[in-house]
């Protein structure tokens, strides 16, 4: 009897801990002081936000920098609300949606005491959008709608676009767009790869290779009264078990990426009211990519059969108990205004309400294509959450229609080597983005000759036309219509790629951490200027 009670207690306590968030307590006055210790699963290869793409850079390094604009810190889940960091107010577009003028705050200073002006903002975005030869800019493609950036005076920066674009503001708000010092960039364009000097809430203090990064409070931070904490310590800890135990043993307050459901339940069971859990849909998804250059995956019927066999509606509730996945969705982040509704999704192959009917159709297509006894290898990445779990689930789904699949798990290096060389049958790839920006995020599904990270090895001019048309209008209704056509072509008509389940972010943290809200991405919010410790 006691055993039964304790089994029930874990999910109940977890539900209560999460529910506590839905009904937030009366707003408290932030307390000042203390050092926030958090764990980070990886160490970034360099300190340059413009170059890197990993959350391992954002978590320990973002607190040292300011950005021009950022997702609304009071409501980070709202993908259409943004706020100024170093600008004075969010601008409205002019010139028919083709120009945005930002006014920069006066009196801003870098940590070395030098003034931060529009010249620094200009140098930063020139480096991101129009990098010189030899400079790597990871988000250059997302900012490709920008024609020019100018700084007519010390407090003004103007972005001129090639055409109106709904993707511009969310792309601009990427948390990697750290504002760098023009003087430093002029002296050495790669200075920021090995050094940190920003204007953010914290001043760089210590970096111990492979161990930690620390920051101390910036007394001259431009948001008055912030940050509340005296400093932070980002501790690199590779294993998930250790990160969970570190929170349990109070060696760390939080890990900002996310834990699987079991770890949440363990922490809730062990710590009770001392742990708070925040959860959110996650702008990350695993997609299945067949290699179009390999037979029989050059046949759209075979690709459609693969997606038809997968029971997403039935699998989501079960998988969400063991893996960091939950929502059923199309190519757009679920819940966004450009995302398909449930009724619209059900019109797409593999999303139908009747899985038996879908699987019958899958068998028919396989037979018609002459591959009733299809066998192939699923090349997967050697990362437990959620790659191998979802991969194992997919193998079972395909088995239901008589497809025999072997899973080949590779570490990241050999995995990408095989994807790049085309030495795979079918693979599980991911699309993880920061600020929810479907017009830009869905570029991942473009044909291989246009998207560098499309591993399907196919051409499809019609798909490119649809994407261009969608990005060429700022009429949301029209964008939505075009998005449905684009989605239908990607997932159904051609089945170039197909979606498994969207990720789900679970962040258990010590209850005494206040002022931090989980957003739909593990890339933000992480400047830590609004967090405080209620100890």
């Amino acid at each position: 009897m006691k055993f039964k009670t304790s089994l029930l207690a874990v999910p109940l306590a977890a539900a209560l801990a999460v529910a506590g968030l839905a009904n937030p307590a009366v707003a408290q006055t932030p307390k000042k002081g203390g050092i926030l210790k958090f764990v980070v699963p990886d160490e970034p290869p360099s300190f340059d936000g413009h170059k890197e793409t990993t959350f391992a850079l954002i978590h320990p390094i973002a607190p040292f920098y300011s950005v021009l604009i950022r997702p609304d810190s009071a409501d980070p889940s709202n993908s259409s609300k943004f706020e100024c960091d170093i600008c004075t107010e969010m601008p409205t577009s002019t010139d028919g949606g083709k120009q945005y003028t930002f006014k920069i705050r006066k009196g801003l200073k870098f940590h070395d005491g030098s003034p931060l002006t529009s010249a620094d903002v200009l140098a930063t975005f020139q480096r991101i959008i129009f990098p010189k030869e030899g400079i790597s800019s990871a988000r250059k493609a997302q900012m490709s709608m920008v024609e020019s950036v100018t700084a007519p005076d010390a407090e003004t920066v103007v972005f001129k676009l090639k055409r109106p674009s709904g993707a511009f503001i969310p792309a601009l708000a990427a948390p990697f767009h750290f504002i760098y010092s023009k003087a430093k960039l002029d002296a050495d364009p790669r200075w920021y790869e090995q050094n940190v000097m920003g204007s953010g809430p914290f001043i760089f203090d210590i970096r111990e290779a492979g161990a930690r990064v620390t920051g101390k409070r910036n007394p001259n931070y431009h948001h008055a009264g912030q940050p509340y904490i005296d400093g932070f310590e980002a501790i690199f800890a590779k294993t998930q078990t250790l990160r969970v135990q570190a929170i349990r043993g109070d060696q760390a307050v939080i890990e900002f990426r996310g834990f699987p459901p079991k770890s949440r339940d363990d922490l809730v069971a062990a710590l009770g009211k001392d742990i708070t859990v925040q959860e959110s849909d996650w702008n990350c998804v695993l997609l299945i990519t067949p290699n179009h250059e390999k037979k029989p995956f050059d046949d759209a019927r075979v690709r459609r059969a693969l997606t038809l066999a997968v029971d997403r509606w039935g699998g989501a509730p079960a998988l969400s108990k063991i893996a960091i996945v939950k929502a059923v969705g199309g190519i757009v982040f679920p819940g966004h205004e450009l995302a398909a509704t449930k009724e619209e999704l059900q019109q797409i192959a593999g999303y139908g309400p009747d899985i038996t009917k879908s699987r019958d159709e899958a068998r028919r297509l396989l037979k018609e294509a002459g591959v009733s006894n299809l066998k192939f290898t699923l090349t997967n990445r050697g990362v437990d959450q959620p790659y191998t779990i979802v991969g194992t689930w997919l193998i079972d789904q395909w088995k239901q229609v008589g497809i025999e699949v072997t899973q080949k798990v590779e570490s990241t290096g050999p995995f990408y080597a095989q994807l790049n060389s085309g030495a795979f049958d079918v693979t599980l790839d991911f699309n993880c983005q920061s600020v929810v920006n479907p017009l830009s995020d869905t570029a991942k599904f473009l044909p291989s000759d246009l998207a560098g990270d499309q591993y399907g090895r196919f051409k499809d001019p019609k798909l490119a036309e649809l994407h261009d048309a969608m990005n060429g209008t700022d009429d949301v209704k029209q964008q939505r219509t075009l998005m449905r056509q684009y989605e239908k072509r990607v997932l159904d008509e051609e089945a170039h790629n197909f979606i498994s389940l969207w990720w789900y972010r679970i962040i258990p943290h010590r209850t005494y951490l206040k002022g931090w809200k989980a957003g739909p991405s593990h890339y933000f919010p992480n400047q830590l200027d609004q967090v405080w410790l209620d100890k």
Binding site: S136, G210, A211, R212, R248, D250, T412
Partner: protein, 324 residues
């Protein structure tokens, strides 16, 4: 003795060169590209010209022989270069980790010696008594139990007992501080991995001590010593144990060298920022330069430890140096 030492030192050179050739070729046989991993594995795209520049900067566009000669030249001149992953000097990257790995290795070796020699001796002397059975069970458990698993149990045990006894769950620190900066903090972190690895290490050494001592105790000269009426304590300590220690010293030497670079999983369990963790990360990241230097470091440690063991052999058993 001098000739013996010089000969042993010279024998290290071909060993090191062979290891250098092997690791250089093996690293290049692993599929994957450090530039692609660095620039695109976190998501996003990377332009071909950026990849080309990255490869040129890292010297990966050079012919293999040129890359090998650069590597050997760096080794000979002690210029180990920069990590291809972090672009920081390798000496700097290894420095802190080396301290930590060395301290854990020393602590684990001390733990092993303190457990193994007395237990092995008592087990041999009291063969087939309950003490012997207990020691044998204890050592078999030590060999069977992986150190990392014992480490996880230790952490969980500490969390649970501290919560039960003091009301607050305590966990060993997860960040390294050098011994001379804060001895208490340092030891409260490193004592647990030293115990976890030292236990397994001691189990091997205890069994070796026991079997070597049992063999020696049956030798004629021990019987003679006893027949002369020497105290049993003297017979064991002066005549039997010293000779029985020869194979034990070999085991201790090999294990010590292994601990310097091979504690990969245990380091992860306790979040030790040691050489083992760096090793795995550099292999996964395709950081050729770092991996090559780390392999050479571990080979050098093994070679040096073997050298020290050889010297100890000669000290423990004078016949060895006279016959060479």
């Amino acid at each position: 003795m001098f000739r013996y030492v010089v000969k042993r030192l010279l024998l290290m050179i071909p060993t090191l060169f062979g290891a250098a050739v092997l690791i250089f070729l093996l690293m290049r046989a692993i599929p994957g590209d450090i530039c692609y991993l660095r620039l695109a594995a976190g998501g996003g795209t990377v332009a071909p010209d950026v990849l080309r520049i990255c490869r040129a900067e890292l010297g990966l566009d050079q012919p293999l022989i040129a890359q090998f000669l650069t590597f050997i030249k760096g080794l000979v001149t002690f210029d180990f270069g920069k990590s291809m992953w972090t672009n920081r000097p390798i000496i700097e990257e290894i420095g802190l980790r080396f301290q930590l790995s060395l301290q854990v290795a020393i602590m684990a070796t001390l733990t092993a010696i303190l457990i193994a020699i007395p237990l092995g001796t008592i087990s041999a002397v009291r063969q087939n008594t309950w003490i012997d059975y207990f020691v044998r069970t204890f050592t078999i458990a030590g060999i069977a139990m992986p150190s990392f698993w014992l480490g996880i149990l230790i952490i969980l045990g500490i969390l649970i007992t501290s919560k039960a006894w003091f009301g607050v769950a305590w966990m060993p620190p997860i960040r390294y501080v050098p011994l001379w900066e804060d001895p208490w903090y340092n030891l409260s972190m490193l004592i647990w991995p030293a115990l976890a690895t030292g236990y397994r290490y001691s189990a091997v050494a205890t069994r070796m001590t026991r079997s070597a001592l049992l063999e020696v105790l049956r030798e004629d000269y021990v019987r003679t010593a006893r027949a002369k009426g020497l105290y049993e304590k003297l017979v064991i300590n002066r005549h039997a144990l010293r000779n029985a220690l020869l194979p034990v010293v070999t085991v201790l030497g090999i294990e010590f060298a292994f601990l310097m670079g091979g504690l990969v999983v245990t380091e992860q369990v306790f979040n030790l920022n040691g050489l083992g963790k760096l090793f795995v990360e550099s292999v996964l990241n395709h950081d050729y330069q770092m991996t090559q230097i780390l392999v050479m470091l571990v080979v050098a440690i093994f070679a040096f430890t073997n050298f020290v063991v050889d010297i100890l052999y000669a000290w423990l058993d004078p016949r060895i140096r006279y016959t060479r």
